[in-house]
Symmetry: C2
Subunit: 221 residues, 2 copies
């Protein structure tokens, strides 16, 4: 029985990692579709959303069954409830990738506002946060999780910088207002991806340390 | 023991409602601060965030204890896990109210872009969705919950309409670009509040009908 339970927990973790891989890939493809004006790539992100949604339901079913059948205690329960929340955050990351892919399809029709410099930096940061929040879960590494929290401030700073720059462009040349507006939406999506990675990292710290850091981070923001 | 458990579940539900009241009030005050250019009201929203955050942690502790000590089965477990997710959504609604209050403080310094017509409609819709998602929980009313899902489409339509209008204003007069940009952010915040209410309604339908409607709604969006 005990060994069976350990096996189920391990499987749950593997599913989460698989789902994280799908979500991360979706984000990467969506932003590349924007930068490379690649319509086919954007469309692929829209097509692949289904797999993420199905995985979310499968993971939730596993969580329900683990809690109902195994009646886990303390440490295991904390992991399982965190897994349920992380599952949710990963699905939302997939939603944000879909939003970015939709912006990519719209922005294709317009001339490029400016060379993309800060936006790729922001997307790399956000993708790295997603990756490391899951790495911190696998390794039960609270320090790595904390580094994700720190990077969320960097993402927010980049967002403010990009907003200021886009506002300047809009004020100088009303012809770019429409595509600049799409870039505002994409920036907001990347910000939210960073927020979800931060939620995951907070869950990992809670799991490892048994300490709730959520509103320490929220107050800091 | 059984009666004690029922009592605990009832208390959990009451805490959720209390928290929902705080979140709804925060949203209402934040948008009123924008419409009435009321700096003191915006500041009050920022001050009151702490109460929402503390309530979230209290509810999560109750959830953990209920699952760990009572080992609930089937229907009760479904309620408790939903309560945990709803708790999360309510806290995020509070975060969005804070964002709106911060926009209110910034937008005060600028002349008003245009008479507020669609934005109050959108905020009333979003506030009503939050209220009714919780009402549907209390009454276990899946029909009311479904009406929240329908209203989410209306919120998204209003968002698109407001965006189009703001883009037009920005293109006509670059002097309003900055305050119009703040209105874009506020519109995005209201959209997210609608999304969170939709999550709550989906949880209620799942709880009442035992059926997962999440990706029916997500695909529809």
């Amino acid at each position: 029985m005990e060994r069976h339970f350990e096996h189920d927990l391990e499987e749950l973790k593997e599913r989460l990692l698989w789902m994280a891989g799908l979500a991360e890939r979706a984000v990467h493809q969506a932003v590349q579709a924007v930068f490379q004006k690649d319509e086919a790539l954007a469309t692929r992100v829209l097509d692949e959303e289904k797999a993420i949604n199905e995985m979310q339901i499968e993971i939730d079913d596993r969580v329900m069954q683990l809690v109902a059948l195994q009646q886990p205690m303390a440490v295991d329960l904390r992991f399982i409830l965190s897994a349920s929340r992380i599952n949710n955050d990963l699905e939302r990351i997939g939603d944000q990738a879909v939003n970015i892919a939709q912006s990519a399809l719209r922005i294709l029709r317009h001339p490029q506002v400016k060379p993309y410099v800060d936006l790729p930096r922001m997307s790399e940061l956000a993708e790295g946060m997603v990756r490391d929040s899951l790495n911190s879960l696998v390794r039960r590494d609270a320090e790595l999780a904390k580094s994700v929290l720190v990077r969320d401030d960097q993402v927010d700073n980049l967002r403010d910088q990009i907003f200021r720059e886009l506002l300047t462009y809009m004020m100088e040349n009303s012809a770019v207002i429409y595509p600049a507006f799409e870039l505002v939406l994409i920036t907001k999506n990347l910000e939210r991806i960073g927020d979800h990675a931060t939620n995951i990292a907070e869950d990992v710290i809670y799991m490892v340390a048994g300490r709730d850091v959520r509103h320490l981070a929220a107050d800091r923001r």
